[in-house]
Amino acid sequence: MDRNTLLRHIQMCEFILTEVTLYLDTHKNDKEALAFFNKHKEMLLKYKNEYTTKYGALTILDNNETWNWVDTKWPWELN
């Protein structure tokens, strides 16, 4: 996947997790919602792993041998 497509997939998964988190805060015993959360958490981790390997850090924890945190675009900047 190219950078923008992969980033869009990450945004979609993150959004699903945000939305389901708010729902689970007031429906903590909803097993179906929790399973939905866990499914998308796995997807998010997979996409994030691909993104950070190919295109650089999304969080400060994603830097490895080089400090690439400041090399990639900031999210408010256009491509």
């Binding site: 988190t21 708010l22 408010w76």
Partner: protein, 200 residues
């Protein structure tokens, strides 16, 4: 604590600068019903909330509002790129420009600076949640007003996303209110403040 992720909650990709529109939309950063006020309100109210579920809601919605501050700031930033002095003067952006150039500063559309006096943290869960419900509706109607004045799709798209989030937050705060009511004296919700008084 918080950890920053180098990714907006929803994409903001605006082609054409429009300082006139920026001057209106910045109200959702620094205005009386804006995202900065929302984040400050919820993240301040959560400490004494009497139920863990409500602490969770205030933390998680407050955190999302911080992401919305970033989206509004990104919209204003992209709407004010590469301006000429003529464009600044003709668009009515000059009063903002003279104080802040094109830096992002939290003000209302009227030009008044952000103030915590537009929000409350009362230490009473019914008062706080009632304010939070109203705050989500006020933010929603401000987005409606912006949408009436804006016809470019690349600006309308993230604004419509933010508007929809106000409705979801209103729903969740309503559920928080129900949970709070179930945990106090059903005959008299206001017999005591569950965050302060000890039940007799």
């Amino acid at each position: 604590m918080w950890q920053y992720s180098k990714c907006l909650q929803y994409p903001v990709k605006i082609k054409e600068p429009n300082p006139q529109l920026a001057k209106l939309i910045i109200t959702q950063l620094g205005g009386p019903d804006g995202e900065l006020g929302a984040a400050t309100r919820y993240l301040s109210q959560r400490y004494v909330a009497p139920l863990s579920e409500i602490k969770g809601l205030l933390t998680d919605i407050g955190t999302e509002e911080l992401g919305h501050c970033e989206m509004i700031s990104a919209i204003v930033y992209q709407l004010t790129r590469n301006l000429t002095p003529e464009e600044i003067e003709e668009s009515g952006f000059a009063p903002y420009y003279v104080d802040h150039t094109t830096g992002i500063y939290p003000v209302a559309a009227s030009g008044e600076a952000f103030s915590a006096s537009t929000l409350q943290s009362t230490g009473d869960i019914f008062a706080d949640l009632t304010e939070d419900l109203a705050a989500e509706q006020k933010a929603r109607l401000t987005y409606d007003n912006i949408l009436r004045l804006c016809d470019t799709s690349d600006v309308r798209d993230p604004i419509k996303f933010l508007r929809a989030r106000e409705i979801v937050h209103f729903q969740r705060f309503g559920e928080g209110m129900r949970l709070a009511q179930e945990n106090v004296d059903a005959k008299n919700f206001y017999a005591f403040n569950p965050a302060f008084d000890k039940r007799q």
